[in-house]
């Protein structure tokens, strides 16, 4: 089975228990203004250039079928043309077997370090069949997902039932604000949250803290209310916004234009969760 991923990262430390290998699935239905993985947004291939080392010799665009201007076809000509080796292509078709094999080679090391594999993205649920196939091939390795929760309920249910750990984002609870900042409504997400709470799978809630967007007491209270008392909730992780989020946009040939003030200080609000006896960690 073929799918699209844009990276495999060994030794991920903030993507689930222990030391993990993360598979980044390509394509995402959301368009969060603060997204720090711009190369994971489109399902189509994306050319990534280490722009800061680039001498702008033009060799890449000279061999590009679109002259470097159109949608990337994934032909890889630019990658080979770059003398300095600064180009990579994110999102070529790969076989589930190959992905699984690459992760499996270090299975002993992952086990030794109480870790496993994490499916991330992009939104991994967009390629749920591909994900499940890799998962099947990797059994019995500990497997986790990092998801926005934006998927049809049957897809969500089916995938998490095959996993050992779920990390799900709750970005903004207010539906209008969610639509504004992420490009989609959050009704599907909230329905899937209920499924997750009742699934028996241990989970973590990630909240990216974006200055002036969701780092308010009101939003944190609302979030805490939604997840309080969930038996399998392991902890809540707060992820303060980093200005480095925009760094990869230029490399991916995109522009970073957040509508919030990224220089504003992030409010780290733990109290609403701690009051409900939830473990909170700032990552």
């Amino acid at each position: 089975m073929l799918g699209k991923i844009f990276d495999i990262e060994e030794f991920a430390v903030y993507d689930g228990p222990g030391i993990r290998t993360v598979i980044f699935f390509k394509g995402c239905p959301l368009r969060c203004m603060w997204c720090h993985n711009p190369e994971g947004l489109d399902f189509a291939p994306t050319r990534i250039t280490k722009v800061r080392l680039c001498a702008h010799c033009g060799a890449c665009n000279a061999v590009c079928p679109t002259g470097g201007k159109g949608k990337c076809t994934g032909c890889m000509q630019c990658l080979y043309a770059c003398r300095q080796g600064l180009i990579s292509i994110a999102g070529l078709d790969v076989r589930a077997e190959d992905v699984a094999e690459r992760v499996y080679k270090n299975a002993d090391l992952l086990k030794m370090n109480m870790g496993g594999v994490t499916f991330s993205g992009g939104e991994p649920l967009m390629q749920s069949e591909f994900l499940l196939e890799i998962r099947r091939l990797l059994r019995p390795m500990h497997a986790a997902i990092e998801t926005s929760g934006y998927a049809e309920q049957d897809v969500f249910k089916r995938v998490i039932s095959e996993l050992d750990y779920v990390i799900m984002d709750l970005k903004v609870i207010d539906p209008e604000a969610h639509l504004h900042y992420t490009g989609v409504k959050n009704d599907k997400i909230l329905k899937n949250l209920e499924i997750l709470k009742n699934s028996g799978v241990p989970f973590q809630i990630n909240i990216p803290l974006i200055p002036g967007v969701n780092d308010t007491l009101h939003n944190m209270n609302a979030t805490a209310q939604l997840i309080k008392g969930a038996k399998q909730l392991h902890r809540v992780a707060l992820l303060p916004y980093h200005k480095a989020a925009g760094a990869k946009y230029e490399s991916a040939g995109k522009k970073y234009k957040p509508s919030f003030n990224e220089n504003a200080e992030v409010n780290i609000i733990k109290a609403p969760f701690e009051r409900e006896n939830m473990e909170v960690i700032v990552l």
Partner: protein, 657 residues
């Protein structure tokens, strides 16, 4: 007290201490030169007299609130040779580096506990150096120091003061790469006694230790090396005792903390670990890694000790190992090994083997046989080249060795030579590419490869792309593992039958030192897609050409069983993005990664916390990054003071986040 330390730390960055220095006036210099170059004196006596005069001419500086003395006030001192004399003496002889004793670990335990007087043997030159150092110490008018130097230390602070002066004098005596050995072992009795009796608090012990560590940075700009920072002031912590018991103690942790608080390039912290090392120590060490100094460098007792025994070291001595200037394993007090006497460019030997064999080879085995033969020839070449060693006598260093009745330049219990094998991963990758494309798949013809190599792929860019982008690479592709094992064995086999003129062995190693630049310059293009101008990897690390290597795969590939025979030293270097270590959870997982490498049987690991963005900014705005420290090959230095070629090599290393 703390503010005084802060003041000292910042003065050293600004180099204010340099204002203490003034060259000898020309009359004095002339007079001394005449005296210490006298025809009537043996070289040994000249060296001893030189040290005496040097120390006499040093001014005594005592800063307010200072506990640890010793500031260089004389930047340079005349040498012991008359015009042209050195060249005459050295003609036809092999001269290692500067022709001086270097890279040794003194018997600090013996000298600090027993003092210098006991080491007088009636030998005029060696006894003269003892008198010279005692006279220098006496000028500080500190009874505790004077007594410690004469008879051995009583208390922790006195022991530190004595170590500083003894080590200071070692630099003045013209030997170099003066290491500090197993500090937490030889200092522990004093620390324990003072803290347990309430003579000092642990906080005071920490301050004194910080002050001592800081003192090693005072004059390091005067110390010889390839670049500033390459001065060999390494210090070893942890491990096991001579009788095999766990040697980790409170001082081990305190030293890690002192280095962390100082954030200075000296002393370079090494940590011995083994299967019994507690997580707690890995985490304390990771705290230090996080500071970005490139410390500690880990060595694995479980691999190193049995390997040293197999090479002929006594078990007790093997358990007592420390490192030379960078990473070479040596024995304190008893070793006169020259662990960096030569380097063989594995990358080049493999390259030449491929060129000379592929046209006629009937199988890949023939290529491998050619590699074996070439390595044997290269090893014999090294053997011949290093014969008839000439070395300047070193009376003062001799006094500091366990066997102080003879000059150390004439040998000690161990007198083995170490040979670096450079470009290891680049060599393995060449073999892997040739095996895959020329022999297994037969997708590239032999002519295509030789033609491409001869014109640096100008006429065949497609082959270049394939070799650089998709060919198997160590650190990423498992098919390289067997070739890595082959190359380690072949390197060991080539050196193991050889003996040096003193009967010592040749220890193959995985270090590269500065050869990663020099040897790269000797090679134009290679079968792994290496082009003129590309650099070789530092030490035992994946090639700089590999993309998408992951730390777990790298650890698994580099922890090779064959290292038990290639154990001169030379670490796997891993660069981890500093953001990984931003909180406790990240630190714990980095500590687990180190532990994993040790469990897999890796020999030596050098973990760097780097921030590529900061390094790049430092290239553009060096004035803003005066104190940015990076690990270069076996030592750490200030990034902005490095030559561009070294900066570039660091920027090309992959960093994991």
């Amino acid at each position: 007290m703390t503010s005084w330390m802060d003041h000292q730390r910042s003065n050293l960055i600004l180099g204010k201490n340099k204002s203490l220095r003034a060259p000898l006036d020309s009359k004095t210099a002339e007079k001394i030169e005449k005296e210490i170059q006298s025809d009537d004196l043996s070289l040994e006596m000249r060296a001893a007299l030189r040290l005496k005069r040097f120390l006499e001419n040093e001014k005594i500086i005592r800063m307010p609130d200072e506990h640890i003395y010793g500031w260089r006030t004389v930047p340079s001192f005349p040498d012991i040779y008359q015009e042209g004399e050195k060249e005459r003496l050295q003609a036809g002889r092999h001269v290692h580096e500067q022709g001086r004793v270097c890279n040794l670990s003194s018997d600090w335990a013996g000298v600090i506990s027993g003092g210098l007087l006991k080491r007088k043997t009636g030998h005029p030159a060696r006894d003269l150096t003892i008198d010279a150092v005692i006279a220098y110490a006496d000028r500080y008018e500190d009874e505790a120091l004077s007594n410690a130097i004469r008879y051995g230390a009583e208390h922790y602070l006195d022991a530190l003061k004595a170590l500083r002066i003894l080590h200071f004098a070692l630099w003045a005596s013209n030997v170099y790469h003066n290491t500090l050995g197993r500090f937490d072992q030889y200092m522990y009795p004093y620390f324990k006694k003072d803290v347990e009796s309430g003579f000092i608090t642990e906080a005071e012990a920490l301050l004194y230790t910080e002050e001592l560590f800081l003192s090693f940075n005072r004059d390091s700009d005067l110390y010889t090396g390839m670049q500033q920072g390459d001065n060999g002031q390494s210090l070893m912590l942890g491990g096991v005792t001579r009788d095999g018991k766990n040697a980790v103690n409170e001082l081990t942790y305190l030293c890690l903390k002192a280095s962390l608080n100082n954030r200075r390039i000296d002393p370079k912290i090494n940590l011995r670990v083994n299967k019994d090392t507690p997580n707690e120590l890995y985490i304390a060490a990771t705290e230090l890694t996080k500071q970005g100094l490139g410390f500690p460098q880990y060595a694995n007792d479980d691999i190193v000790i049995p390997a040293l025994v197999k090479m002929g070291y006594d078990l007790e001595d093997a358990r007592d190992y420390t490192v030379a200037a960078c990473w070479e394993f040596i024995i304190p007090g008893k070793g006169m090994d020259i662990p960096n006497i030569a380097a063989i460019s594995l990358a080049k030997e493999v390259h030449e083997s491929i060129l000379s064999s592929i046209q006629t080879a009937d199988s890949f085995e023939t290529v491998l046989d050619t590699v074996k033969k070439r390595l044997q020839a290269a090893a014999q070449g090294v053997r011949r080249e290093v014969d008839s060693l000439w070395m300047e006598p070193a009376p003062y260093q001799s006094v500091l060795m366990s066997d102080y009745v003879k000059d150390i330049s004439s040998g000690a219990k161990y007198r083995n030579y170490g040979v670096h094998g450079t470009g290891f991963s680049d060599a393995v990758d060449q073999l892997a590419a040739v095996k895959k494309y020329l022999f297994d798949e037969k997708s590239v013809t032999r002519d295509a490869l030789t033609d491409a190599l001869s014109d640096h792929f100008q006429s065949n860019p497609a082959l270049l792309r394939m070799l650089r982008e998709s060919a198997p690479k160590l650190g990423r592709d498992d098919e390289c593992i067997e070739l890595a094992d082959f190359l380690l064995d072949a390197f060991a086999d080539a050196l193991s039958p050889l003996r040096n003129e003193f009967g010592g062995i040749f220890r193959p190693g995985t270090g590269s030192a500065m050869y990663y630049l020099w040897h790269a310059d000797e090679i134009a293009s290679m079968s792994n897609g290496h082009l003129p101008g590309d650099r070789l990897a530092a030490n035992f690390s994946p090639s700089l050409l590999v993309r998408d290597a992951g730390p777990l795969t790298v650890l698994r590939h580099m922890a090779r069983p064959g290292l038990s025979r290639v154990i001169n030293g030379g670490p796997l270097t891993l660069e981890i993005h500093d953001s990984v270590m931003r909180n406790k959870e990240g630190m714990e997982k980095v500590a687990m990664l180190v532990k994993t490498f040790i469990a897999l049987g890796g020999h030596q690991l050098q973990l760097n916390a780097v921030n590529i963005e900061t390094l790049k900014d430092a290239r553009i705005h060096p004035e803003n990054h005066k104190n940015l420290i990076v690990r270069v090959w076996g030592w750490s230095g200030h990034f902005v003071q490095l030559d561009a070629a070294y900066q570039d090599q660091i920027l090309m290393r992959a960093s994991y986040r």
